[in-house]
């Protein structure tokens, strides 16, 4: 194998699995250490810089970081990264004075369509640079789907108000209750750039027999959630069926339980395991006595003279073809009709751009989606950018934020007369953490604790009030315990071959058998010859040459605990523990075309 180029910004970034997996590349271990130190405001600001909505995401994020967390490969469960983010938000001091002070207006005007996370992220990045940002939303308050679709018992309004407030207070103009119904008209208002972050606002319909007749008691999930959110709907029937297996379905069923639904069921086509909902959301639904029935395909709404009485299902089973693709085929069991008073349909969301005239320079593909560059988020109209669900269909808040950062960078570059396709590399800082012979500036003693559960409010109380938040969040003590579980993967093991005397001390001490000194070979061969063979090709081997015996040092990054014992036991300082911080390039980073910074 070729020696590893550790100066490439991505190499060590990938070792920080959580940060690499996060669409916004939040420096997770860094903020977790700050939480452990009790520096909640600092932890919050690191999050705010990167993911814009720490308090909101700390309650609602889809957490792509957690399945990636190294801890999950070392023991059963990853670090509760998401809920630690909430800890930073819950325990911080007043951070208003730490928000950026916008520069004098530069005369450029940006229109942002939709007041959700994507548009707000763009505004957050551009307003401080002096851009005049105008956000349009049909709802009276900012937040978009975060406010309209996520139930208040998961995400209280106060948190949304606070975090959207930080952005609007940067001098962003918010035009609430103002629906944009013509892009052409907006283009005519001579904005320097337009960002479209209008989401995926249309709930998918379920066109089955009886749908029209029973329409009074068949509701589209996200519309119903929005109506609940704005107080237009305050009750539902006693028996409720929720159709669909995503997170919206979970929000629907739990909301129904709080509005009078006593017998609420979720019914899905697929198997329980394949449901799109996050495992913890399914858990929360089950905890609130909501059964989830699987392998049942709805085929008709049953009604008597337009009054819904139930839904009929066909029973199916999963069969796999030669290519491993799953097909749902009838199981042969008789159809089943489940009686109910109301149905909530949560079978997906769609984009809808009726307000974009097809002759204003924006090309659409055959699925009626705008053509958007996945790197620059530019449409085929050079002035118009897309992001969030509006760009590539329904995803999560954290993706919308990541899109917003990239789109803001594009807009800033375009309006600075630069090529938007040239994306500056991130800035990387690497610094030794050595404080003394065996002292490090981070706590390298690995905690053996199991994942701490987040305390929940008592179910009886929680189900009584739709606005009572269910999760209470970690207290300081639990947060500290959970923070200590973080393995500090950003404190990297850095090897210097010329200093190495090949004494094997690091090999002997490594608790995870990560380090091997051996003859070089092809990767496949080398992976087999490691002290603990490594079949996980997605995890890098760190190869260094230049040793006196002509061998190579191979470190399998896979399950390294970053405990620093290799460096503690190294007599010559050939191993060092160095903290790796990466600043993702945002609009207005200090220099415009940053050269790659050597590690």
């Amino acid at each position: 194998m070729k020696p590893t180029d550790i100066s490439a910004p991505d190499y060590f970034h990938k070792v920080v699995d959580c940060q690499w997996a996060c669409p916004a590349h939040t420096p997770v271990p860094e903020y977790i250490r700050l939480i452990a130190e009790g520096r909640y405001s600092d932890a919050y600001m690191i999050n705010w810089q990167s993911n814009v909505f720490p308090g909101i995401l700390g309650r609602t994020c889809d957490r792509p970081c957690e399945p990636a967390c190294r801890r999950g490969r070392v023991e059963e469960t990853p670090v509760a990264i998401c809920r630690l983010k909430r800890v930073a938000a819950d325990f911080k001091d007043d951070v208003k004075h730490r928000m950026p002070k916008p520069l004098a207006k530069n005369g450029k005007r940006i229109a942002l369509v939709g007041g959700g996370p994507a548009s707000l992220a763009v505004a957050r990045d551009l307003a401080p640079l002096g851009y005049h940002c105008t956000v349009f939303d049909s709802d009276p308050k900012a937040g978009g789907m975060m406010r309209s679709q996520i139930p208040k018992f998961r995400l209280p309004d106060t948190v949304i108000d606070e975090e959207t407030g930080y952005i609007l207070n940067l001098g962003v103009e918010f035009k609430g209750g103002h629906r944009v119904d013509s892009l052409k008209k907006l283009l005519g208002e001579n904005y320097d750039a337009i960002f479209i972050g209008s989401g995926a606002p249309r709930g998918r319909e379920l066109d089955l027999p009886g749908r029209k007749e029973a329409t009074a008691n068949v509701h589209i999930g996200i519309e119903w959630l929005a109506s609940v959110s704005f107080g237009h709907v305050e009750k539902i029937g006693r028996r409720v069926i929720v159709l669909g297996g995503g997170n919206t379905a979970m929000d629907c069923c739990r909301t129904a339980r709080r509005l009078g639904g006593e017998d609420v069921k979720v019914i899905v086509r697929s198997g329980f395991e394949e449901m799109k909902a996050s495992p913890w959301e399914k858990e929360d639904a089950l905890h609130e006595d909501i059964p989830i029935l699987n392998y049942m395909v709805p085929i008709a709404f049953k009604h008597v003279n337009g009054k819904l009485i139930g839904v009929t299902f066909q029973k199916v089973k999963a069969e796999y073809d030669a290519k491993g693709r799953r097909n749902l085929v009838p199981s042969g069991e008789p159809d089943q009709t489940i009686p109910c008073d109301d149905v909530l349909v949560a079978v997906g969301q769609e984009n809808a751009f009726p307000w974009i005239e097809r002759d204003c320079g924006i090309e659409f593909d055959k699925w009626n989606m705008p053509q958007v560059d996945p790197k620059t988020f530019a449409s085929t109209n050079p002035k118009v950018f897309f992001g969030g669900d509006a760009a590539f269909g329904p995803k999560n808040i954290i993706w919308a934020v990541a899109h917003g950062h990239d789109a803001a960078l594009s807009i800033h570059k375009m309006l600075s007369g630069e090529d938007i396709n040239e994306r500056p590399l991130p800035e990387v800082h690497v610094s030794s953490q050595k404080m003394g012979i065996h002292e490090w500036s981070y706590d390298n003693d690995v905690s053996g604790d199991k994942r701490y559960k987040v305390p929940h409010r008592d179910k009886v109380i929680a189900l009584k009030d739709i606005k009572t938040e269910v999760e209470l969040g970690y207290d300081v003590k639990l947060a500290l315990g959970e923070a200590q579980r973080c393995l500090n993967c950003d404190v990297q093991t850095v090897f210097s071959a010329p200093a190495c005397i090949e004494c094997d001390a690091c090999v002997d001490i490594c608790p995870m058998d990560c380090i091997t000194f051996t003859e070089n070979g092809e990767e496949e061969d080398l992976r087999q010859r490691l002290k603990a063979p490594s079949p996980h090709h997605d995890q890098a081997l760190y190869v260094a040459e230049g040793l006196k015996t002509g061998r190579v040092m191979v470190k399998d990054e896979d399950v390294c605990l970053h405990c620093g014992l290799c460096a503690e036991r190294c007599p010559t300082g050939a191993w060092d523990m160095q903290k790796y911080l990466i600043d993702m390039t945002l609009a207005g980073s200090t220099c415009q075309t940053k050269a790659r910074s050597a590690a």
């Binding site: 490969r73 070392v74 023991e75 065996h438 390298n444 003693d445 690995v446 053996g448 005397i501 090949e502 004494c503 094997d504 001390a505 090999v507 002997d508 001490i509 608790p511 995870m512 058998d513 990560c514 603990a532 063979p533 490594s534 079949p535 006196k548 015996t549 399950v559 605990l561 405990c563 014992l565 503690e568 036991r569 190294c570 007599p571 010559t572």
Partner: protein
């Protein structure tokens, strides 16, 4: 030294031996020796050998004297019996323990000071008597605990860290062990585990006095230019006569060896030692030739390593003394007191 405990987590893919243990289960406390000490590699090799042999930790007694080397039994086999004896007295304590209970595996760990200076006589007699043990000397040529004076195994002409020349002749413990009748004699290097681990495994399986001299560089006081016990010197002057594969069980030898390159030695307990010859003329069953070979190469400044001599049919001290098979702690009063009839018989024979 390191202040944190070694994390309990281990690699999820670690293999288990026949007893269901991983090699991590054979560890002891975290080492308090200097970072990079060769002794820690020997510790790791002992752990590896015991893991590979699927030894039950409670069947092992590890016994040591005084010195850096003699601290190491604390760092391996945390669930075994141990005795940290007086300086240089490991061989006597081990001999006594062995006579009292022959069922345990005896692992004597000593250093060049402990065995070649203060305990030289003890070393000699335990070898001479053929005590069934694995006697490992962690040999760094200096007194590390007292800051690096030459020990008795330091080569004449080698230099101390301050540049002082050693004018005394060196004791070669391997040569002495051969002369005193050790039935398993090997030398190895802490920086070469692929050689050391099988040697330790073979020695544990050997019945009789098995002696291994392991050159183990002292990072703090004896790893400089001018030292003959440094990593660089040993790597440059290492003359390995053979490589060893230890084959336990009755399975046929599956590894392919080129004809004439391997010598298979079967030990008492059925363990077969496959010696892959590096020096084609070297015969590991010839004590006299081994002694000559050793002296010749030592004169040239070479460090001869490998399994230098093995007598697979050796007998141990218990056989010589015709002691009782049962460990003393399992003998009942009726075994120990044969009764008045037997006494009468003895008395009669003396009249």
């Amino acid at each position: 030294m390191t202040y944190i405990a070694k994390p309990k987590f281990h690699h999820p893919g670690l293999k288990k031996n026949e007893l269901g243990y991983t090699h991590r289960d054979y560890e002891g406390k975290i080492s308090t020796l200097c970072a990079g000490c060769g002794h820690d590699s020997i510790t790791a090799s002992i752990i590896e050998a015991c893991y590979e042999l699927s030894i039950e930790p409670h069947r092992v007694a590890k016994i040591s004297g005084i010195g850096c080397s003699s601290k190491t039994p604390d760092y391996f086999l945390g669930n075994s019996h141990g005795f940290n004896s007086v300086h240089g007295r490991m061989p006597s304590v081990l001999t006594g323990a062995n006579l009292a209970n022959r069922d345990l595996i005896y692992l004597g760990v000593s250093g060049d000071g402990d065995s070649a200076s203060i305990g030289f006589g003890q070393f000699a007699h335990s070898i001479r008597r053929g005590v069934n043990m694995t006697y490992i000397v962690e040999n760094n040529g200096v007194y590390g605990l007292t800051k690096g004076q030459f020990s008795a195994t330091a080569d004449r002409g080698s230099k101390s860290k301050k540049g002082v020349m050693n004018t005394d002749n060196a004791i070669d413990l391997v040569a002495i062990a051969l002369q005193l009748g050790a039935s398993f004699v090997a030398r190895s290097f802490s920086g070469d585990k692929s050689q050391l681990v099988p040697l330790i495994a073979a020695a544990i399986r050997h019945k009789g006095a098995a002696f291994i001299d392991v050159i183990s560089p002292c990072i703090a006081f004896n790893n400089h230019a001018g030292s003959t016990k440094s990593f660089d010197y040993v790597r440059e002057h290492n003359d390995a006569v053979n490589r060893l594969d230890v084959l336990t069980g009755r399975d046929p030898i599956t590894v392919e060896y080129a004809p004439g390159t391997v010598q298979v030695v079967e030990q008492h307990d059925g363990t077969r030692l496959a010696l892959r010859k590096i020096d084609a003329d070297y015969d590991a069953n010839d004590r006299l030739a081994a002694m000559t070979f050793l002296q010749k190469h030592a004169a040239k400044g070479q460090v001869v390593t490998g399994l230098l001599y093995v007598d697979p049919d050796a007998e141990d001290l218990h056989a010589h003394l015709e002691t009782v098979e049962t460990p003393l702690n399992k003998l009942e009063a009726k075994d120990l007191c044969p009764g008045s009839a037997a006494l009468e018989k003895i008395n009669a024979s003396l009249r």
